[in-house]
Structures are given as C-alpha cells and as structure tokens.
Symmetry: C2
Subunit: 345 residues, 2 copies
C-alpha cells in the first residue's frame, strides 16, 4: 500500500462520547451524519453503540438506511432532514425517526406513515431547519397526539459561549416546548459546554466525538501519514510546483509526498500548512496539487519515508486554521483514497 | 432518493477527449487519477476506451489495480507516482506501467521486476516528480536497455500560455530526450493548447475531459441538483445559519437545501455562491453548513423543489472562482453522498 494512511481511533471516539456524556445528567446521543464526519459511520456507530449510545442522528434518510444495516435492530436512528418527498419507503423499511421540519412534512408523514414514530424540529432562531413558532402553535396538539419521540432545535452560535443568540434561542425553545411530556433536545457539542440549562433530556454531540473544537478536552482521533515519493535538492532560484508559486531562496531539500487536494488536503491551506517528519516541522512549499505536495525537509536529520499531516502534532483545527475554515470541513473532506485503518480494543 | 443528484455525462467526456485528440496528430491518452477527478474512474475509463483511448494514467498503483478490473486486459495503465516501496505486487498483478521518478525507483524496479515495462518521468523544471538532468544522464543508457515504454515530463505553468516557464520546460525536455527512440510525452490539457511543439508522441489530457478550464471549448460534464427541504419567510433583522452571518435587510424567502460542505460544496464559496432555480439565479445566504445551505428564493415565481448548483448555468470554474480555487478541486471534492447518475448512449 502506497496511498496515504488514515488511522481512526475508535476507542478515542468512544472516550470522547463518554466524556461528553459525563458532562450532563441526561441521555447522550451521537451524530454520525456525513459518514460520521468522514470517518466511517458504520464503524463509528458500532463502536459507540458498544459504549452505550442508543440514539444516532444522520442528515438524510439514505444515510439512515445504510446505518441501520450496520447497527441492526434496536438503536434509534433519527433523520435531521425529516420526511422528504421520496423518503417514505426508507423510513418504514429502516425504522427511521424523521425530525419533521414543516407543516408540509407533518402532512406527508401523517398521510403515509400515520403510526410511525417521528420527532419535531423547531426553529428557535437559526432559520435553517424546523418549524416556526406560529406553525408549531397551530400543529402542536396534532403532533402530540401521534407517536412523537422528541422535540428538538439547534443552536446557531454555540461555539461562541458569550453570543447573545444562545440565551435567545434557549428562551425561544423553552417557550415553544413548555408543558410537553416528550423528551426535549437543544444541544450539540457546543451546547453541552454551555451548561446544564442547555441540556434538557437529550444531547447530540458530533464534532466533539471526532476530536474537534469546541471540545478542547477531546482525545485526538484521526492520524494521516503520507508516504514520500522522492527527494530532491534545489538551489536558490529554483521553483517548486504549479505556477512557480514557491521559489527557493537558499539551498533546500524537497520531498514530494503522495497526497493532495483530491484527498481533502484543501488547496487553500498550502501557503500556511506544515507536516511533521518525526520531530521536525516541515513547511509545505508550492501549491498543493491534486495528488502531490512539496514539503521542505531540509532540517530533517534523516530522510523521511513518510510524514504526518494530521495527528498528535497537528490537530484538525490547526489544519483548519491554515485553510481558513473549521475542523468539521477538514474531516468531511478527507475523501476515499486513503488506506483506512481502525484502532479498536 | 432525497440526497442531491450528481449527473455525469459520459458522452460529453468522450466528446471532449475526441476534441482534444483532434487538436494533435499524435496519440491521446486519458488521465483518470483521483477517481477520474471525482467523477468515477471505472465508468469514465470504460467510456473513453470505447471512444478509442488505449492508454490511461493514474496517480497511485492502488488506483491502477482498481482500474484494471474495470478495463480488463488490453489498455495500458500508467502510474505517475512510479514504483514506490510496496507497489511491486500491484504492478505485476495489474500489469501497470510505472513512471519511474528517481534512481531509487529505477533500482527498485530493476531489482524486483526487471523485464516488466516502465516509463521514465523527467523533471524539466517543476521540481515535483521525475529525474533531474544529472540523474537522467547517468541512467539513460541503462533505462534504454530495458522495456522502456515512454519518457515523460509535466508542465508547471501550462494554464498560462505566455509564461516563460513553458518554453523553458520545452527546451529542457527536448534536450533531455533528444535521440531517444521511445515515445515522448510532455503535455496535459494546457500543453495541448500551447500548440504542436508541445505535443510530441503522446498527450495526457485530464481536466479538459471533465469540462474544466483551460479547455474553453469543452462540453459541460457534471450537473448537480439539490432538493429543497423547506421554505421559510424571514423579516428584516432575522439571521440565517451559523454565526448569524447573514441578516435579512428586506423581507426574504429562504430555501434550505439538502447538501453542504460534506458534499464538497466548499465552505469558502459561501459568500459568493449562487444556485439556479429554473431561470432564477438565487444567492446562497449564511454560512454553508455540513449538510445544509440557505438560498434566497425571494425572486422565484414558483417555489422550487430543487435547485441546480452545477450545470449548464454554472460551470465548475464559476464555482471555483466563488471558492477562490480551481475547477479541479471543485470536482475532486464532490464526495460520496450524491446519488450518481451516468448518461451514456
């Protein structure tokens, strides 16, 4: 195998889930949408089920269908996008619980799967998914009459603990759900860290499971090792890579490594990105290409066979900062070309 | 199916290959590395083989192994990263032709697969892959003595026709390969467009096949349709999405669509991106989330069921410009969650 290796520590994911669970006195679900943030929904969910998670969230019914095959019967699989046109068969077949987002979705569900469990997603101010207060007021009684499993909403600014949007959404959600006799859920990872007022009956951590901010205490989950294809020495004035974007000012030793933006190493991070060769921090030089990256290994005492892009020395958030984005996007971009290795006790 | 749909026009890819082939009087290969730039190497290569392509290029031996299964025996599959440690079995088993990049790779190949065909990749100035002039001078005679299939190099600035690097690399490549009796290859899509001097015996188009610049005459290949999950009306002062990054100044109608950066819709394009709903151009509002995007559909005469992100009205290069990157990265980022549909006569 000469492709880059992505190692995923399933035990670290389970430990992160347990650590987040320990921060609340309510139930803790697990968000495994987008293929568990790119790390492999089947393996991640199986490991979390073993750790005690009984409720999982995905974005689309298709993801739920696939996850049901991995988890078998038992765990509850909830779908954020609700009951969309075309979802009915998947929801029934895989026993999914759609989070109904609108009157239209409620009507669709009642018309096709009247006795099938559902949740309700409320909009508490993010204006992205969920019913508005007025819609909900008109529907609340009918919704409570069916097999309603939970009522949920989502915070827009939970990563900024001091943002006024947080207490505003908390107040809105509280008002919209007062007196209900079903479980209520407002918080993902960021909301868990905002404190007990935000926990209600069920939390839904995602990024915190996978080692990303804002859960600073998370164990590191993903490691990427990229093999070196070849090494060359360049003299001052020589350029490296597309567009001659990097030119050597001093004699330098350049390693060409076997990964690129097709592996989700976002092209935007090029000018600010580093990798590790053992203890040595090595700067990326030149533009990141589709399958190749130039790295300055001049300061390495021995010529490396491979370099570490992500791991103990460089978090997803450090890479995200280099690319001007967030850790979530680093993870979901990782792509299909890695040799994937799962660590699990 | 409620996931977004990615439609790939295989006939358009074949037509682009034929159009690029018609620009030269030499052989035209096809670059299908990185899963054919994200569009599906198996289907793309099978269609191109039907159109007449007999030589394919991939980045890694693993890709070659997989491609051989799709193509069967016959077509030549060349590997840009050459013969890396650990590649030997794959090269033999799948009858791959490694483009040897260094003395070390040449030695590895001779030690393990002495009679197995290979190519030589030369560095004509990009300092990324390939042998340096001095290395090559020492190795040339030995390389010619074995089953050498071709000698190749790669241009660093072919997308900029007036760049001085182009004639410089041409001169270097010419000098390094004069008098050789094997096929020579220097150009990918950009190089083909630089004119006959750059064509030699074999060209290797990649991006031009898939509808991206710099091949302006390319037929459009990929279309992305994203379903609408729900519609809501917002009043001035209401925000949409994470971080309250977008705030309505006038009454607006917002559609939440079922795709996001986990589908390769790069988060960076958010502030400048548009989608189409029928004839209406609709602005992306708020931050692109992992699975969801807000779109301003205020000006739509009818409420859309889905919107077009990529297609006749918006090229990969237009999306790339919004994201501050290149069309190549738009394609390779597309991800695994789309319902993929292939068009083929």
């Amino acid at each position: 195998m000469t492709s880059a290796t992505l190692t995923i520590d399933l035990d670290a994911i389970a430990a992160n889930w347990q650590a987040l669970d320990a921060q609340t006195s309510c139930e803790t679900a697990a968000v495994v949408k987008a293929n568990a943030y790119g790390l492999g929904a089947d393996r991640v969910a199986q490991r979390l089920a073993r750790a005690g998670a009984r409720r999982f969230f995905v974005a689309l019914a298709e993801e739920g269908l696939s996850l049901r095959k991995a988890l078998g019967e038992g765990p509850e699989i909830c779908v954020f996008s609700g009951h969309m046109a075309g979802d009915t068969d998947m929801i029934r077949q895989a026993q999914l619980v759609p989070m109904l987002n609108s009157v239209e979705q409620m009507q669709r569900h009642q018309a096709s799967l009247r006795t099938h469990p559902y949740g309700i997603q409320l909009d508490s101010g993010m204006n992205r998914l969920g019913m508005e207060p007025a819609e909900w007021a008109g529907l609340r009684e009918a919704a409570m009459a069916g097999p309603l499993r939970m009522v949920m909403s989502h915070l827009a600014c939970a990563d900024e603990p001091d943002h006024a949007m947080n207490p505003h959404q908390l107040r809105m959600f509280d008002q919209m759900t007062q007196g209900l006799s079903v479980p209520r859920s407002l918080s993902a990872t960021g909301g868990i860290l905002l404190g007990a007022d935000y926990h209600f009956d069920l939390t839904r951590p995602g990024i915190g499971l996978y080692g990303g901010q804002p859960f600073a205490a998370a164990r590191q989950v993903a490691t990427i090792e990229v093999p070196v294809i070849q090494i060359r020495d360049v003299v001052p004035g020589e350029s490296v890579g597309y567009g001659n974007a990097w030119v050597a000012r001093t004699p330098a030793r350049i390693a060409t490594i076997a990964a690129g933006y097709a592996d989700g190493i976002l092209r935007a991070m090029g000018p600010k990105a580093y990798v590790r060769a053992g203890a040595t921090r090595c700067k990326v030089v030149g533009r990141i290409s589709m399958d190749l990256i130039g790295v300055d290994v001049t300061n390495c005492k021995t010529i490396p066979d491979s370099v570490e892009l992500l791991g103990p020395h460089q978090s997803v958030d450090a890479l995200a900062e280099a690319a001007g984005t967030i850790g979530y996007e680093i993870l979901t971009s990782l792509g299909a070309r890695y040799a994937r290795r799962y660590l699990e006790t």
